[in-house]
Structures are given as C-alpha cells and as structure tokens.
C-alpha cells in the first residue's frame, strides 16, 4: 500500500482544511484528533511492515508523483522510507500525536486555529522524512516552519513577538543557505535532478571534485547547522522554545529540529565525503567546545525551566554533530538513534514543564519546590524524562550516546573524552532541576499560588500523551533493535566504504 505515505501527509492537511468549516468545537476536535492519529498509525504500521518490504535502492514503499516539473527540473514528489528515515518518520508520527493530544486538552484561545496550525506542522514533518526528493524534503520543512511563527506570536509566553521574529529570521537564514547548498549540489553534480537516488548514482561516479565538495558541504553545514542550533548559531533556540506554546515547542524541538541533522546524515555527508573531512575539525570543535561544554555550562546557570530545557536540547545537538564529524557507521548510527531518543525525551520534558507551569504559574525554578508531595505522578514522569535526557541505561538516549562515543573514539580521543564529561554536566543541570522543582521546601511564592489553587496531579489529558512518549523511550531503551536493525543496514550502505 504505497499511497499510505501520501496519506500520512495529506490527512493532517485535510483535517486542517476541515477545521475551517464552522462547526461545534467538539466535532472539530474529533476531526483534529483523527488528523493527528492517522499519521501516527500509518507510521507504526509501516514500521512493522518495513522488514518484509521490498527495497528499491534501499527505499521501501516508494511512490512517485509528477507535479509538473519532473522533465523540466527533475523535481517530483518521490516518497519512500529507508532505514534512516523510518525511525524519524515514526518519531514524527508519535510526537505529532502526543503534541496533538496535549493541544486538544489545552485551553488555548482560538482553539481551531491552534489545532489547524499544529496539523499543518504535522503534515510538513511527515513529508520531510517521507521525501526522497531533496526539493520536497526542503519544501515540507518550510511548510512545518511557518506555523511556528504564528503560534509563537499568538499563543507564546514572554517576549513572544521578539522571539517569533528572531526565530523566523534565523531559521530563514539557515533555510536559504541550505537551499543554495542544495541547488549547488543539484547543479554542480551534473545530475540536474533533485531525486536523492539519482543524485547518489551520479555522485557515486565521482562527479564532484574535492573543492566543490568543500564549498557545498560548507554551505549545507552552516545552513543546516543554523536550523539545528549549531554553536554559535544557537541563540534562537532557547528563546524560541521558551516563548513557544507547549505543543509547538514539542514538535519543533522534538522533530523539526532534526531536519538539519537528517539532511546532513541522509544527503550531505554521504554525497560529500571529502567535504566532511575538510570541515570535520571545525565541526568537532564547535560541537564539543561550543554545544556540549559551553552551552552545557550555560544550561547549568538557567533559572527558567523552559529555557533550561531549550539550552539542554542545544547541548545535546553537540553529540549529534560529533557523531557526524566521526563519520563512521557506528557514530552515524548512534546519531540516528540519538535523534529519535532525544526527540521523544525533549518533547516529554516540554510537555511536563507546561504542566508544571499550570500548577505553579511560574517557570522560575527558584520559586518552586516540594511539588513532588502534591503531584507525585507528575514528579515521576519528570524524573524519568530527565534521567532519559541525561542518558541513563534502560532509556533510549543511552544507546545513541553510547554509540556516538564509541564511533567518535577513533576520530578523536580528546573530543570524545570531553564529550563524555558532558554527560556529567547533563546530570548536574538535570538533577538540579528535579531537586529544585520537586523536592526541598515549598517556597513562599509557590505556597501562595498553591494556597489559592491546590495543584491537582496530572489529568488524563496530560497523562496519555506523556505516557505515549515515555513508553517510546522505554521500549527503545530496552529494545533498541526495534529501530537499530534498519538503521544499521541503511547507514552501512551509505557510510560503509
């Protein structure tokens, strides 16, 4: 059933269109819920079918639709999944469902617009990871990006107007630079085709000279790097996530941000090996010195819970960049695992931090404390999510980080040692936030808020999406093979030379 991929993109869009029809809110919510659920189920179903599917050029479920530019420019809507895109497609489906469920229970103003924008975002995310065509990969990313601007601006928190503008301008710079890089790849390779399979075949014949590779990979690295908050282009991320409404932050930090990494792993790095080698030293330096160590210390200094999670997600991107710099099967495979795991864990943390906010009316961790007595379930979820993000064995993130460290060891022992010590930094800010929010004494400020409105524990509307994300973390933690098999096959095919 190859059209399922198209359906996974079209169904949220269709649901968003239907939301325009004036109808009672309850029925609109049902439509939105279906729009969120269908892609998730399609993703799960395709994941279960992947091992038995027939592969063409490494891709399963391939379908191709001509939008009028196939002959003229070599652009066509070519959909399919390989071992690298499959886990991310699954991530997009599940996090989208969780973010959607969380949005359905939230009491946002103008709920139909809120849900509609989230659905557009979801459609874009499914499209990003289902596209084999590089053009549509970019196209769907932008489709998912635009709603973020409006969502931050309308429903955002502090500094929302400034944050929305900054986020959009930064991400547009990144997107434009990477677009130039992709056009360069399209033209300089001589392929005149945006289809990734065709590009791979052309480049395999040695169509790109070393200096071309260096320039193109440089463009893509900076472009995608801005989108993934590579140091020093990261300043939009904590600010934007701090201001974004919870579901938008979940989808953006959890899934959309992986677009840049995915682009580097799936497209840029395998096509431009000598380009990677040329930039590897800089990439490693920025990843370890900038993202992991510098941002790590910055994260420790945060008092705002949401900003802290935002910074921690910037920091974790450092591990991914280190894995790419290492450029071997274990390292890259580790990056894919980490992207998936980090997507689930950071989405869960953003979800829970908003739930905390609804109970404390503040994001300032110095004004919280002792919440565990009042809301034990929330505390348990938060502690587990934090441990996952630190990289505790038994939770998904552990495997990704472990593989990255193993892969990076042969690349640079110094960088790897420094990166491993970054785990301690994660532990410091992670555990500190847990202790500040949930343990210790209730601060006077919080006591006042609690006195006015005693905090209830997680409601079912919050529990279901949180459970969904948490179970994904646990399943992958205990059974990484669920995705590592296809990942290994695909990564070996691309990087195994």
């Amino acid at each position: 059933m190859p059209d399922l991929l198209l359906l996974s993109i079209a169904s949220p869009l269709l649901a968003a269109l239907l939301l325009l029809v004036p109808a009672p809110l309850a029925s609109r919510k049902v439509i939105a819920g279906l729009g969120f659920a269908l892609p998730a189920f399609i993703a799960l179903y395709l994941w279960s079918q992947f091992s038995s599917a027939t592969l063409a050029h490494g891709y399963a479920f391939g379908t191709q639709y001509d939008t009028g530019l196939k002959d003229a420019l070599g652009i066509s809507l070519h959909l399919g999944l390989n071992g690298i895109s499959l886990p991310l497609f699954l991530l997009a489906g599940l996090v989208g469902l969780a973010a959607g469920l969380y949005a359905l229970q939230s009491k946002a103003e103008r709920p139909a617009l809120y849900l509609g924008l989230l659905l557009v975002m979801q459609a874009g995310l499914m499209g990003v990871f289902a596209s084999i065509d590089v053009f549509f990969f970019y196209f769907f990313h932008e489709l998912a990006l635009i709603p973020t601007f409006i969502m931050v601006g309308i429903w955002g928190g502090r500094d929302r107007s400034y944050a929305a503008m900054k986020l959009t301008i930064y991400l547009t710079i990144g997107a434009m630079i990477s677009l130039l890089g992709l056009i360069a790849l399209y033209h300089q390779s001589g392929a005149e085709n945006f289809d990734l399979i065709a590009l791979r075949q052309v480049v395999a014949d040695g169509a790109l000279s070393g200096s071309n590779q260096n320039v193109i990979f440089g463009l893509l690295l900076v472009g995608f790097g801005i989108l993934v908050s590579l140091f020093p282009f990261h300043t939009w991320a904590p600010l934007g996530y701090g201001a974004a409404p919870s579901s938008a932050a979940m989808l953006h930090a959890g899934v959309l941000k992986k677009f840049g990494l995915y682009g580097l792993i799936q497209i840029a790095a395998p096509l431009l090996p000598s380009g990677v080698a040329h930039w590897a030293w800089w990439l490693g330096l920025l990843a370890v010195g900038g993202n992991i160590l510098y941002i790590g210390f910055v994260t420790i200094a945060q008092r705002d819970l949401k900003q802290m999670i935002g910074y921690s997600s910037v920091m974790h991107m450092g591990y991914a960049f280190l894995g790419i710099a290492a450029y071997n099967v274990v390292g890259i495979g580790g990056v894919v695992l980490m992207m998936v795991a980090h997507g689930f864990s950071v989405a869960l943390l953003f979800l829970l931090s908003t739930s905390i906010y609804h109970r404390t009316q503040t994001f300032d961790m110095d004004d919280m404390g002792g919440l565990a007595q009042k809301t034990p379930v929330l505390a348990a979820f938060f502690v587990t999510a934090t441990l996952a993000s630190i990289g505790l064995p038994g939770l998904a993130n552990f495997w990704g980080e472990l593989a990255i460290f193993v892969g990076a060891w042969s690349y640079s022992t110094v960088y790897t040692t420094l990166a491993v010590s970054g785990v301690i930094i994660s532990a410091i800010y992670g555990l500190r936030s847990v202790s500040k929010v949930f343990f210790g004494d209730v601060t006077p400020a919080l006591a006042k808020v609690i006195g006015e409105k005693p905090p209830a524990d997680l409601s079912w509307g919050e529990k279901v999406p949180a459970l969904l994300l948490l179970s994904a973390l646990l399943v992958l933690g205990f059974w990484p093979k669920a995705i590592s098999g296809p990942v290994n096959t695909a990564v070996s095919a691309l990087y195994g030379k």
Partner: protein, 509 residues
C-alpha cells in the same frame, strides 16, 4: 484615403493578429458611449460591461493560445507574435480584469467620475499587450507612451486628494525624463545603424531584426553602447530599478490602490517583457547589458529591501518591496542572457511574474477593501487585530504576503526557486548571495505585516475628549469579492504545490 493606402492596409497587415487589442480599444470607446447613452442611475453597468469584455478577451486568448502567425512578424515587421507574447497578453488582460474589480470597490468610496477610469484601464491594457509583441522601436515608443500617459491620468485620479495629485506630478516629470532617456537611446541607435558608411548598415534601423544584424557586425561601437545603456535606463524606470526607483514610494502611496496594483504588476511586467525582447536584439552587446543589469539588480535588491524595512505606510512598503522583486526578476533576465541559463530562465521570469500577480492582487485586494475614504492613509497599525475581527481577510492577506516573501508552499517560493536555479546555472553566485540576503531581510517586513494582523496587541486607551480613533471602519467582505480573494489565495497555494502543465510548459522549453 488613397486606394494605395487601403491596399496596403489589407495586403501587409494581418488584422486578426491584433484582434484582442482592437477589441479592447473598441470596448474602451463603447464604455464612453455607454455613459452618454445610459441613464445616470444605470451607470453601475458600465464596469460590468468592461469586465465581461475583458473576460471574453481573456478566454479568447486562452482558447486560441496558438493562433495563426505565431512566431512570425506582422504589420511590416512592427509586431512579432510568440508563445511568450501570448502569455503576456493573457497576463495583462488578467491584471486589467483584477484592476477593474478593485476599481469598482475603490471608486465606491470616492465621489469621482467613474467611467473614464475603466476606459483608460482598457486602453493601457491594449498598449501593454502591444508592447509585449513589439518588434520595432517606433511601435515600442508609441505603445509605451500610451501606457505612460494613461498612467499619468490614473495616478492622479482622486483629484481631491493632494497626495494623489503630487504622485501624478512626480510620475509625470520623472516619466518624461525616462521617456527622454529612452528616446535619446533610440535615436543614437538609429543614427549609428542608419549610417550608410557603417558595416552592415540598414535602411530600417528601427526594426529589431535589422538592428540586431547591424549590432552583430559592429560589436564595439561606442555610440551604440551609449544608446543601449540609455534604452535600458528608460526601461529601468518602468521597472522601478535602482537608480530609477525614486518615484516609486510617493507614487505608490498617492495613486488610488487599484492603480498602484496596476503599476506594480502590469507596468512592471511590461518592463520585463521589453527587457527580454531587447536582450535578444542587443545579444552581441550582452556583456554590456549583463554588467549594467547586474549592478542594477544588486542595488535594486539591496535598496528595495532595506528601504521597505522602515515603512509604516503599507502602500509605500509594498512599493519598495516591489522594487526588490524587480531585482529578483532582473536576476532571472541576466540568467536568460547567459548561455547556462537560456530559455528556462525566461520561463522562470514568467512564472515569477504570474506568482507575483496572484500574490500582489491578493494583498492589494485586502488593502482596497480595508482602505478608508483617504486612500493614501493606510498604515500598518490599521491592520491590528484583523485576524480577530476578519479572520478570512487576515488569512488571505497572510497567504499573499507569504507568497511575496517566498515562503513554501506558496507560488512565490517556486518563482524564487526557479530564478535561483536559473541564476545558479548561469553562474551568478555573487548576485545569488545578494538575493539571499534580500530574502532574509524581506522576512522582517512581510512578517511584520502578518504580525500586525495576527498577533494580539495592547492598545493604549483613547485620551479623554478625543473622538474615536482615526482608523478606517472595517466592513464585511461581499460574497463575490470574498470568493475572488479566496480563489486568488487558493491559486497561490495550489501553484506552490502543483505547477502541472503551466510549470512543464514554462520551464520545459
């Protein structure tokens, strides 16, 4: 009339070839007659007559897209008909159609004679269509002057508004200057090519084919180079390219909004049509043309975007942003001149123009609807909370602005992509870098506008004693106009996802 003249008229002139233009001219006269004949209370019908005529001509062009004589010259070489010129014909008629609709809405808010407006729009359209097929400098100049004189009237149409009069005056003076430059350039070329002692001299130097042959024989003629630069300067004025953009903000602000739209879309497109035609004529001087256009394009993109950043009046903002669009389009024209770019770049320019038409009329439509009695006074502040009071208008506006900004999945993005790909193939890396910076800068003001319409605003309470605020009253959109705006927006979206036949035809050539 002597018998010979009649004979000539019938022998060399293939009248069916310009049937659409003739029809529009007749229609323009019909409207004037209708004003005299019809009783005053039935005058509402006049714009509808104009609309149905335009619609008929539009459908006629589409149905008979490849008429007899395509690819050939008619009227003793005055006109040359090609697929490109057919596209432009449809383009100009479509813009006239939309301008007429906007005119109906805008003129309702004014106490002005109405019929002349629609009649002049038709005359300008016919002249624009001829411009797209020009094959001779005489015809080019006459058609261009017809367009410009028509615009002198339209720009100062709301004669009770001093800003409109000022705009008309500015357009008149600077327009005269640009016509003088153009004419001077034409005369120089005429003189050089007509010089009997020159190699490859021609008896008919106004003819583009003859001129091209002459220029090919004399690749380094100084006077010809000066002439070419002057001709390009005259056209750059129509496009609004730097350094001939001075008139843009004031004229765009002062002119009635439908006229601003007509200037922004049709007049600019005509400039690019001429650039593309003349680029072929000047092909042996393409190094000169490319270097002149490259400097202009870079300056235009930078100036347009940075100047638009600080605007609070939306008409000035869209005028200056239109300047930057001219820059991107020039990038496409330059790519078309270089061997790597070729015909695909021409297709990219046409696609960009079409996407620009859709997006511009979406935005101008919303502007026309929201404008108060003072048409020049349209501030960004007036759009505050539009998404709350009129979600439909706000949504349509966001689509239009997003497409202008070049955001996927909208048609404007595809236009930019095609231009960028063509420019990349032509190796214009420096200009591409400038263009990318321009796009990023433009995000700030386009999204600033969306921000004004969508983001919740805190509004200071009115000081005691003051009458209600000065912002124009918002009324609901009528159903037909709503449908029009909606379909323009939907067209932008669909063309972003699916280019189909249009994309294959324009870019596959």
């Amino acid at each position: 009339m002597t018998p010979e003249l009649l004979q000539n008229l019938s022998a060399d002139n293939f009248w069916p070839a310009i049937a659409p233009e003739v029809m529009l001219g007749v229609l323009a006269l019909l409207l004037l007659v209708a004003e005299i004949v019809l009783p005053k209370k039935r005058h509402d019908v006049i714009p509808l007559i104009s609309l149905s005529g335009l619609l008929g001509v539009f459908l006629g062009i589409l149905l008979n897209f490849k008429p007899v004589g395509l690819g050939e010259t008619t009227f003793n070489g005055l006109l040359r008909h090609s697929e490109g010129s057919q596209f432009l014909r449809a383009f100009f008629v479509l813009s006239a159609l939309l301008v007429t609709i906007l005119g109906i809405i805008a003129l309702k808010k004014q106490k002005m004679p109405k019929t002349e407006f629609f009649s002049i729009v038709l005359v300008i359209t016919a002249a624009l269509m001829l411009l797209g097929q020009a094959h001779n400098f005489i015809l080019l100049f006459v058609a261009l002057e017809t367009v410009t004189v028509g615009f002198y009237i339209l720009v100062s149409y709301t004669r009770t508004n001093p800003l409109s009069l000022e705009a008309g005056l500015k357009y008149l003076i600077l327009g005269a200057l640009s016509s003088a430059l153009l004419l001077f350039g034409i005369v120089l070329l005429y003189g050089v090519a007509g010089n009997p002692s020159a190699l490859g001299a021609t008896a008919n130097p106004m003819d583009f084919d003859a001129l091209r042959v002459f220029l090919a024989h004399n690749p380094d003629n100084f006077l010809a180079s000066v002439g070419i630069v002057l001709v390009l300067s005259g056209i750059a004025f129509k496009i609004g390219a730097v350094p001939f953009q001075i008139w843009v903000p004031d004229v765009y602000q002062g002119a009635p909004t439908p006229v601003t739209a007509f200037l922004a879309v049709a007049s600019k497109a005509a400039g690019f049509a001429l650039l593309l035609i003349l680029a072929g004529v000047f092909s042996s001087y393409s190094h000169l043309v490319i270097s002149v256009l490259s400097i202009m394009a870079a300056a235009t993109i930078v100036f347009g975007n940075f100047a638009a950043l600080t605007q609070h009046n939306v008409k000035r903002l869209i005028g200056l942003s239109g300047v930057s669009h001219a820059g991107y389009l020039m990038l496409g024209v330059i790519a078309a001149l270089t061997p790597g770019g070729g015909s695909q770049a021409v297709g990219a320019v046409f696609f960009y123009l079409f996407a620009y038409l859709l997006a511009s009329f979406t935005v101008f439509g919303v502007m026309t609807h929201l404008a108060g009695p003072n048409d020049s006074d349209q501030e960004l502040d007036h759009y505050q909370d539009l998404a709350k009071t009129h979600p439909f208008l706000a949504g349509v506006l966001a689509v239009g602005l997003g497409s202008l900004a070049g955001i996927p999945p909208l048609a404007g993005f595809m236009g930019k992509l095609f231009i960028f790909v063509a420019a990349f193939k032509a190796g214009l890396y420096g200009l591409l870098a400038v263009a990318v910076v321009g796009v990023v800068v433009s995000i700030y003001y386009y999204f600033g506008w969306i921000k004004a319409a969508f983001f919740p605003h805190w509004r200071p309470p009115l000081p005691t004693g003051s009458v209600a605020d000065s912002r124009p009253v918002r009324s609901a959109v009528s159903l037909p106009f709503g449908l029009l705006l909606g379909s323009l927006a939907v067209a932008s979206i669909i063309l972003g996802f699916y280019q189909g036949q249009l994309g294959a035809w324009l870019l596959g050539r």
